[in-house]
Symmetry: C2
Subunit: 245 residues, 2 copies
């Protein structure tokens, strides 16, 4: 083979919906075909990496000759599927650039679910879930993840709390005061986990009471520094992942 | 006073070079004058917050009438100067958007110094230090910091290491393998600190050996996830700050 696009990290890694397995031939999307032909200038017969969130990572050989659309034939499994830590990132919607940033970075940092939450002080109420998902897919392809976070439709905070699973911890970034995060997490039972980040204006008193009323809520502080909502989301995920090891 | 722009968090916080003290009258920059007049539409006589990295935070009353430029008269000290944790963020330059992002987020997360470092695999070699400083000032004004990180000119890695202070820890994000960060930091003596983040391509073998040869180098891993350089920089700062409490 003249060329191979499966170097460490995956020079070309593509997320697909279809099942992956020995000999499976995957029809790639028009967007992926365009990317391979015109951005990567990939030659026919080169190898790429495919993943679908279920079947691990596969080396696949491209067939992008002819007009019938780009295809990739699974050759061999290069990684077996590993579960991501089960962390839901629940965050008040933020304006476009910051929202792209959160979707990308939260994916790199291993969030399993991206859940926009509408609070009393939420300013941005329109959420482009499709755009969020596109950012998540791109970040997953580039960060060697074997899955893509589930991107959920926005929920009012009250609904999120009412449906919160009994066994799932909720790391609550409470700007109104809480113990430092690593201290607050000492001796906490294993996950699953959730992280809740408020809007720029913070939560109001009623919301704080409701969040703290959940049995598994863990109020935490990120220190005296005033962090933007997107920075707080990234920092909390990074610290939680470091704590989980 | 009809209006007050000093609500919690500082609705208007401005960084100035001049000394601050009771009765001091500060001449604001043209950019600050424009921002106050045309963006904030601030009225004459309203109060704002000023800081210079030395004298704490001061409530100051605006004089923006007339043509002689905007001024602010220090009224009273609202916060006393507190030292930021002494953390140097040393990072291989990255392209514009990511560079803006790192300067802003690293400032929010309390870095004391932003030090671009040129490595063998550094792709972006041109660094706009003025732009980096402008991003740092804006982030400091908005994040309630009392100082602004020092933005340094780029240095080759060899020069950075040759001049590295003997007592300063260097948290080295080594993609080639190291203990998890919180584990690696267990029982480490107090700072000062530095964090070293490589370029997208990582450090080469020679560079890794040179970095690890420093007495105070602490190699760390951020986990199995493949993080972009900008994400790694912010995650490492967030985890280090959480560890320092």
């Amino acid at each position: 083979m003249s060329e191979d696009l499966t170097e460490p990290g995956g020079k070309v890694r593509l997320f697909v919906e279809a099942d992956l397995g020995a000999g499976a031939e995957i029809l790639l999307s028009d967007g992926q075909a365009h990317y391979l032909r015109h951005v990567m200038r990939a030659a026919n017969g080169v190898a790429v990496q495919l993943f679908n969130g279920r079947d691990g990572e596969w080396r696949a050989v491209l067939d992008i000759a002819g007009k019938r659309g780009a295809r990739a034939a699974c050759d061999r499994r290069t990684r077996t599927q590993a579960a991501s830590p089960d962390i839901w990132l629940c965050f008040a919607p933020i304006k476009k650039t910051a929202a792209d940033f959160v979707a990308q970075k939260a994916t790199e940092l291993g969030a399993a679910v991206l859940q926009p939450v509408l609070t009393h002080r939420t300013i941005v109420t329109r959420v482009n879930v499709e755009r969020m998902a596109a950012n998540a897919v791109e970040a997953a392809e580039q960060s060697a993840r074997l899955d893509v976070p589930a991107c959920r439709e926005p929920l009012p905070l009250a609904k999120l709390l009412a449906a919160w699973p009994a066994e799932r911890h909720l790391v609550f970034c409470d700007e109104a005061g809480a113990p430092p995060m690593l201290e607050a997490l000492k001796g906490v039972a294993p996950g699953p986990w959730g992280v809740l980040i408020g809007p720029e204006g913070g939560f109001d008193a009623e919301e704080r009471t409701a969040v703290r009323a959940l049995a598994r809520t863990i109020p935490v502080s990120l220190g005296s520094r005033l962090l933007r909502a997107d920075t707080a989301a990234l920092a909390t995920l990074a610290i939680l992942q470091a704590r989980l090891g």
